[in-house]
């Protein structure tokens, strides 16, 4: 069966109409599931409108919000407020405290770290916490090529270590383009080749990180947000007059 590719972080700052062009490009490149960070204040009708555009274009749009909290309390407050409104929550861990809380919390889907080797806190403890809570490690590929060479070299070494750790602890790795401009978008296989050359993933693993892994994260959350969800593994299958 053909793979369904996903790019969970199209980071282009565009308006609603710009988003349509972005989705059309993603479709032309072969992606069938996309997500772009939205404002935490986005209203439900706005999200519905975006979903409608996506279905007109022929891609599946997952609603996503990215948080960049300064501390534990701020993160927990934002999670309480936003978890049931968005299908994906990514947390940019700017300090160790936030990184640990985010990795432990089941409401966080994607762990992100700054593009500075010293401010990446994905170590053994973080990986162990993330493996217990189903958080995925998100790695954005295209911003790497905007960095000065020296900086990129250090960061790539760090990223390879993180991927190795994630594999050891069974933390899912999600690759996304992180394209800040439409011209930085790449086809999924090109991203997979990049990841396999730069990050030490096997090509098949890189393809999974662009297809099955992100799709599972989105599916799991959609199931949780469904009114039929009761608890993991338990859902309502019939209601009212439907019940025998």
């Amino acid at each position: 069966m053909a793979r369904r590719f996903a790019d969970l972080r199209l980071a282009c700052p565009v308006g609603r109409e710009g988003l349509r062009v972005l989705m059309e490009r993603a479709k032309a490149f072969g992606f069938s599931l996309v997500a772009t960070p939205l404002e935490p204040t986005a209203r439900p009708e706005g999200l519905e409108y975006l979903k409608r555009i996506a279905s007109e274009v022929g891609v599946d749009l997952a609603t996503r919000v990215d948080l960049a909290p300064e501390g534990r309390q701020e993160l927990l407050r934002a999670l309480r407020r936003l978890r049931r409104r968005f299908e994906l929550i990514g947390v940019l861990c700017q300090n160790k405290e936030v990184a640990r809380v985010a990795a432990r919390d089941r409401r966080v889907d994607l762990l992100r770290f700054p593009l500075e080797p010293r401010r990446r806190f994905f170590d053994r403890s973080e990986a162990e916490l993330a493996s217990g809570s189903n958080c995925a490690l998100e790695i954005e590929l295209m911003p790497l090529f905007r960095l000065p060479a020296q900086h990129r070299i250090l960061l790539l070494a760090r990223l390879r270590d993180e991927v190795e750790l994630a594999k050891d602890y069974g933390v899912p790795v999600v690759l996304s383009s992180g394209a800040e401009e439409p011209i930085l978008m790449r086809r999924p296989r090109e991203l997979a080749y990049l990841a396999s050359e730069l990050l030490g993933l096997r090509f098949e693993e890189a393809l999974d990180a662009l297809s099955t892994v992100p799709a599972e994260v989105v599916e799991r959350n959609r199931a949780k947000l469904s009114p039929d969800f009761v608890a993991p593994g338990i859902r309502v299958i019939r209601r009212g007059s439907d019940c025998p």
Binding site: E24, A28, P182, R186, E190, Y193, L194, S196, E197
Partner: protein
């Protein structure tokens, strides 16, 4: 009977944004990207050659050893600028023979929204 020592792959490339003016400029752009990604040792093992390039349409065919195709494609994806202007090189098709690639190429070219 003489046997070729290694297999080759032909990559059809579509340029978006700033376009190289000719085949030589395209080859230089790709070679520099390979150099940046894997150094001189990697570049020497990924001997690329631009077979043809239409600067008007921004479409070209690049040949590389099939065992180094991953590196070449990664290098192509890593190209983000040409002389300071944004650019992107998309691999739209791959084939083991030029004939098959040329036959399929017209149907594989992308019409990119927002281009």
């Amino acid at each position: 009977m003489p046997v070729r020592r290694y297999k080759r792959r032909y990559l059809a490339v579509q340029v978006e944004g700033a376009r190289p003016r000719n085949a030589r400029e395209l080859e230089e752009l790709v070679l520099n990207a390979i150099l940046r990604l894997s150094g001189e040792l990697g570049a020497s093992s990924a001997t690329i050659k631009v077979i043809e390039y239409d600067a008007e349409r921004g479409v070209g065919i690049i040949r590389c050893p099939h065992l180094r195709m991953g590196l070449v494609r990664a290098a192509l994806a890593s190209i983000t600028a040409l002389d300071g202007r944004p650019t992107a090189l998309h691999v739209v098709d791959v084939s083991g023979t030029l004939r098959a690639l040329r036959k399929r190429l017209p149907s594989r070219l992308m019409r990119l929204p927002g281009q």
